[in-house]
Symmetry: C2
Subunit: 336 residues, 2 copies
């Protein structure tokens, strides 16, 4: 970083050049509050940590870090993460990079992992997933000197480079499709409530229903098969049940299909089901599941390529990966 | 290691003590052939590399390595590995260990990964999965100075500590169960042919069929949904089709169920299906799938605990994790 910039940051923050240097290099000697203020101004001025120099100096770890804060049992059955990881790996392996993976029970443990990886220089960068509303990982990672690439909506990434799918547009298209089929009451089985992406889809869902003049009905869930089953039962056994149900992933939709069959409700004759993500699971059920599809492996591969660009200093913005599109199969029809 | 043992190894091998030291410490100075001979004798005498000392000296990486040589698309849809990894992580995270994961296209790339991890001290140990017949990874890992824990049959682990499931016994029980229901022609959709575990199950399958006087019919597959579908079609549309089909994992069984429905063949009235591994997938199909069940997450957790014991020098043998047991659900009945 040019000296003039350190001077400029110091001037704007009203602190010494030494304090700026301490803050930018992640060393003690300044208060957390001052550090945050300095980093904020530095980023506004276009400062980026000199990761490329570190890479060139040979102190690379040749690993990226990924922390998953999810119930391990749910992780095991949801295709999304294994597909995402496979996609990330497909790019990493070309460059002999590995993925340092940690599954943690809660966000506090996830924060501890980043602190440790940062202080021990265990990874060249971290890939952040499952962005939350008011995500505590964001301010921590802004303080740490770790390159970060977010997988998720730029509105949640708070200035970090992000690779994202436009779920709001996809959700509007999904609702419009079901309305076009003639559905007038549409259910939604949502994922974990504090995930920002779930909120974005939920808002788009309610807005699209309102504009189309159809009634929304929401059952909260948590991405697991079990909760998907419970939520489906809640919707289908209501006094005035929806004639179509939209799911936030595929495993919940598969569980929902099974629940309908158990309840003696025929898919798609009596109720239409529409999944999200669209792993091969959706193709091997009977009837096969219509879904809002995107290529999750390609999404992971895209993120991995951008992570390398973040290290090189060439990726700093938001990169739209895709707008999930409708794949029509046998689980969606006009209402009875 | 006591000096007497170095003397003893040198005496038995007819080499100098220096050569033994070179070989045991993974340093150059002896031919590959001599190194292998020395390591073989050393292991026979109960020698174990002094990993504990290295751990105590603080040169730990606090990571274990896992390489998966599988088609990334198949990895994404098969619950087994994500469940296994989740189980491994559940133990690692308690000790703030991470898993260094690499997905490689073929075994050569996997071998390169171990060489790199070994020379760069990237991991404290490696967990080896998908053991092959005449597995080229085994001799390489015997040469390298990396602690190894195999997940798989001890007969394939060639002296490395192993955590395993008794699939031969489970397969015999599976066949006996189907024979007990009255089936006289039993199909098998097998996993990837060069996996040792697939061979062990195949041999047990043929033996059990022979003893029971029933006809086996085998369709080779590769653990993927797509190949499971093709193999099921091959069996079901044969002139004299089997009345029961056994699968080597759950995703192929789910695909098989869907294939039967497409062909207008009713499960279980016309054909019984029996899955293996038993993730939650088997419970969310309709009809639900009977399966040879084992707790894959617990299997991964068990392996991770043993990996720590390998480092400590206290795990050196074969540890039976479980014999998969029958979970009877709605996909198995007497033949029509």
């Amino acid at each position: 970083m040019a000296r003039i910039t350190i001077n400029e940051i110091a001037r704007r923050c009203g602190v010494s050049k030494g304090a700026v240097s301490y803050a930018l290099n992640g060393r003690p000697g300044v208060s957390d509050e001052t550090r945050e203020r300095i980093l904020k101004v530095a980023r506004e001025l276009g400062w980026a940590p000199n990761w490329t120099a570190r890479m060139l100096s040979g102190s690379r770890t040749e690993a990226f870090g990924l922390v998953l804060t999810r119930n391990p049992r749910v992780l095991g059955s949801e295709p999304f993460f294994m597909e995402l990881i496979s996609g990330i790996e497909s790019v990493l392996s070309e460059r002999s990079y590995a993925l340092l993976l940690q599954v943690t029970a809660d966000l506090d443990a996830e924060l501890d992992t980043y602190r440790k990886w940062n202080s021990e220089r265990r990874v060249d960068g971290v890939i952040l997933v499952d962005l939350r509303v008011d995500d505590p990982r964001i301010p921590l990672l802004h303080k740490l000197d770790l390159p970060v690439l977010c997988i998720g909506d730029p509105g949640l990434a708070a200035g970090f480079p992000a690779v994202w799918t436009d779920d709001a547009t996809a959700m509007i298209n999904a609702v419009d499709y079901l309305v076009g089929l003639g559905h007038r009451k549409i259910g939604r089985v949502s994922g974990t409530a504090d995930h920002g992406q779930v909120g974005i889809r939920g808002e788009a869902f309610r807005g699209a229903c309102e504009r189309a003049g159809v009634e929304p009905m929401i059952a909260d869930s948590d991405f697991s098969a079990e909760a998907g089953r419970t939520a489906t039962r809640e919707l289908i056994t209501a006094d005035d049940p929806p004639t179509a149900v939209l799911y936030d992933n595929d495993i919940m939709a598969v569980a929902g299909l099974s629940t309908c069959l158990e309840l003696g409700v025929t898919v798609p004759d009596q109720v239409s089901l529409l999944a999200w993500d669209d792993s091969s699971l959706c193709q091997i059920t009977h009837p096969s599941l219509s879904a809002m599809s995107h290529d999750v492996m390609a999404y992971g591969a895209h993120a991995a390529r951008r992570m390398f660009e973040v290290l090189e200093g060439t990726a700093t913005g938001a990169y739209l990966d895709s707008v999930p599109t409708l794949t029509e199969r046998d689980s969606t029809r006009p209402p009875p």
